[in-house]
Symmetry: C2
C-alpha cells in the first residue's frame, strides 16, 4: 500500500480526531475509500479504539431513493442512537462517480435529507472529521491525471499542522482584535465589520473545533457588509456551475447580483430566506499545499492566498453573543487574491498579492 | 446488472426477511457484495423500509486485529444498541479472499469474538438473514469457474421456496412423530433417539425460524446415539481440511474417532467440553439446487440427499423441554447418501440412494 495512505490515516486519527483508547469510533467508508479504510482500521487498532464501519455507497443511496417514495420515516432510532453513543465519526470520502446521484429527483433527495436532520445533528455532536481519499472520479472532476491528483491530495493533507496552526493563530489574533475588514481586487471593494466576533483557527483538528482534513483557514462572521465583490474562482453550487459571480451589498444585504454563468442558481440561493442575502462567513485560506482549484470545496476554500465569503448561516463559534446570521443555506464563494488584490484589517494590509504580512 | 442479482435481493427481502414498510434494517455489505447491496437497497426503498449499511471488510478487520492488543472492550454500547434497536439484519457475504484472516493469531481472534458476545446475541435476536453473493474468491474455494459458480449460487438460491417448504413439511411431520432414526451406509450404521424433539423446517425464511438463504434442510436434535458413522464429504473445520472422519458412539457419546486427514482437529473439537462429544443436530439436506460440494457450509449442508450431524450445541427450537445438549462448539459434518445408503425413521425408509420416499 502507498505509504502516504498510512500517513493520512495517522494524521486523521491522531491530529484531527484525537482518538484515544476506548473511544467508540464510526468509520464511514465510501465506495472508493477502501484502502484508506484499511489504514484507518490499523491505526484505530493500534490506539485501542473501538471500530464500527459503515458503507457510504452512492450507488446504494441512489437505488434506495429511486425505489422509495417521497415520505421517509423521521430519524430512525437505531441509526440516531448509534451516533448519539459514538465518540467520533470519521468520514472517508471517496466517490467513484460524482454524477451518481444526478438522476434522483431533487425533491426526494431533500425529503430524505429533511427526515434525517436529528441523525445529522447527532453526528455533528461527535468529534467528527471528514477527509478525502483520492479516487479517479475526483481526479476527473479536478481535470487532473490520477497520479497527479494523489500528489495534490497528499500535499494538501500531509502538512506540518502544528506549524500551520501557529501561523494561523497570528491571523486569528489580528481578526479578534480588529473591527473592520476591507477586501480590494479586480471588481471587488468590500468592507465589513468584525467587531465583537471571534475567529476560528481551523487547523484540521477537533482540538481547534475544526472538522475537515485538510483544513487550513481562519474564519469569522462579518456584519454590515458594504460594497461590491467578484468571485473569480469557478464553483459548483447545488450541482450547477457558477462563474464570475458579482454581488453588491448595501447595509449588510445583497441588493444586486450577476454572474457570467449560473446567475439563476445564485438568484435561487438569495431568495431562500432573509438570511441568505447576508454574509455568514469570511474565511481566509492559508493552506499552501492547496495550489490549484479542483472543484471540491473541501480543498478549494483552504487555498493559501484566497478569500471566501459565504451567503447564509454563520457558525456559532464566531458569534459569542449568539446573534449570528441565520439561514437554511451556507453557500461559499471564492475570490482569488494570489495574483493581485489585498485584504486589510483596520486599514492595515494583512494579505497582498498572495503574501501574508509575516511571510515577507 | 445481472437480473439474477435483483431476483436474489427480492427473495432475500420478501421471502427470507419478510421486510415491511417502516422496518429498521441493517445491511452488512462485504467487500465483494457491492452489487447485491445495490439491489437490496432498491428493494428496501420499494418496501419503504429504513436502511443503514455497514461494511464487512476482511481487510479492515485483519488490519484492526493486527494493530490491536489482546484486550478488547466488552460489547461497545454504540454497536450493541444499533442491533438491539434494529428489526432486521441482512448479511451479504462476499469475500474477496478467503485467506485474508490467515495471519491473525487465533487467540486474538477469539478474544475479539468473546468480547463481542452480547453484540452477536443482539444480532441473533433480530430477524437476521445471511446470504451469499458469488465472488471470484468463493468460486476459487469451490474449485469452479466464476461463471459456473454464479450459476450454482443462483440455482441454489432462486428456488420455488413455497413448494420446497411444502416438501420439507412432510419430513418434519415424520420426524416429529418418530422416535428413532437410523442411518445406514458405507462405514455407517448409526441409531439415535428423537423422541419428544421438534424438527425445524428450514425454508430460508424467518417465518420458519430459518436464517440462511439458501436453506433447504430439516433438522432436529438427537440423543442416545449408538453405532458408527463415516463423513465422506470433505470439510474445512477451524481452517483445517478434514476428510473421511469416522466416529464411534456408545451411550450417546463419542468413544472413538479417526480421520484420513485432520484427525488432530477433530480431537481438539471433541476435547472442548463434555457436550462436544455428543450430537447437537441431525440435519437432512433437501435443496436440489445444491448439487455439488463447494466447501461452504451455507450450501454444503443443504445439498439434497445428504445428511449432516453436528457435534456440540443443540438448537433451542428443537428441544421443547429445554434440556438440549450444551457446548461451546457446533461443528457440522456431512455424509453423502446420494449414491447409496439410507435413512430410516422408526424402521421405515424415508431416504434411499438420494431419493426421498415421496419423490418415487
Amino acid at each position: 500500500m502507498d505509504q502516504r495512505v498510512s500517513e493520512h490515516a495517522e494524521v486523521l486519527v491522531d491530529w484531527s480526531a484525537q482518538i484515544e483508547a476506548g473511544d467508540d469510533v464510526v468509520v464511514q467508508v465510501d465506495e472508493g475509500a477502501h484502502d484508506l479504510g484499511v489504514a484507518v482500521a490499523a491505526a484505530l487498532g493500534e490506539r485501542g479504539a473501538n471500530l464500527l464501519a459503515t458503507y457510504g455507497s452512492d450507488e446504494m443511496t441512489r437505488a434506495y431513493l429511486h425505489g422509495h417514495g417521497d415520505d421517509f420515516d423521521a430519524d430512525p432510532a437505531y441509526e440516531k442512537t448509534l451516533y448519539e453513543r459514538a465518540d467520533s465519526v470519521l468520514i472517508l470520502k471517496g466517490r467513484r462517480n460524482t454524477a451518481e446521484g444526478s438522476d434522483v429527483p431533487g425533491e426526494r433527495r431533500q425529503a430524505y435529507r429533511r427526515a434525517r436532520q436529528e441523525i445529522r445533528e447527532a453526528r455533528l455532536d461527535t468529534d467528527w472529521v471528514s477527509t478525502q481519499h483520492p479516487t479517479r472520479a475526483m481526479a476527473q472532476q479536478a481535470g487532473m491525471a490520477y497520479d497527479a491528483y494523489r500528489e495534490f491530495v497528499y500535499d494538501a493533507t500531509l502538512r506540518d499542522w502544528t506549524t500551520l496552526a501557529g501561523e494561523m493563530a497570528q491571523l486569528k489574533e489580528l481578526l479578534d482584535a480588529g473591527e473592520t475588514v476591507r477586501i480590494v481586487g479586480e471588481g471587488t471593494d468590500l468592507t465589513m465589520s468584525i467587531t465583537d466576533r471571534v475567529a476560528v483557527n481551523s487547523a484540521a483538528s477537533v482540538a481547534y473545533d475544526s472538522h475537515n482534513l485538510p483544513s487550513g483557514e481562519v474564519f469569522t462572521a462579518p456584519t454590515a457588509t458594504e460594497g461590491e465583490v467578484t468571485f473569480d474562482v469557478p464553483m459548483t453550487v447545488d450541482g450547477t456551475r457558477v462563474r464570475d459571480v458579482h454581488l453588491v451589498f448595501e447595509d449588510g444585504e445583497v441588493v444586486d447580483y450577476s454572474a457570467a454563468q449560473g446567475e439563476a442558481t445564485i438568484g435561487e440561493v438569495l431568495d431562500t430566506d432573509a438570511g441568505a442575502r447576508r454574509l455568514g462567513e469570511l474565511g481566509i485560506g492559508m493552506n499552501r499545499g492547496v495550489d490549484r482549484i479542483t472543484d471540491n470545496i473541501l480543498f478549494d476554500e483552504k487555498m493559501g492566498g484566497t478569500v471566501h465569503l459565504a451567503l447564509g448561516r454563520a457558525y456559532d463559534a464566531c458569534v459569542p453573543d449568539g446573534a449570528g446570521n441565520d439561514s437554511a443555506v451556507h453557500v461559499d464563494l471564492i475570490t482569488d487574491l494570489r495574483e493581485s488584490g489585498r485584504l486589510e484589517i483596520d486599514g492595515e494590509t494583512v494579505l497582498e498579492a498572495g503574501q501574508f504580512r509575516w511571510e515577507e
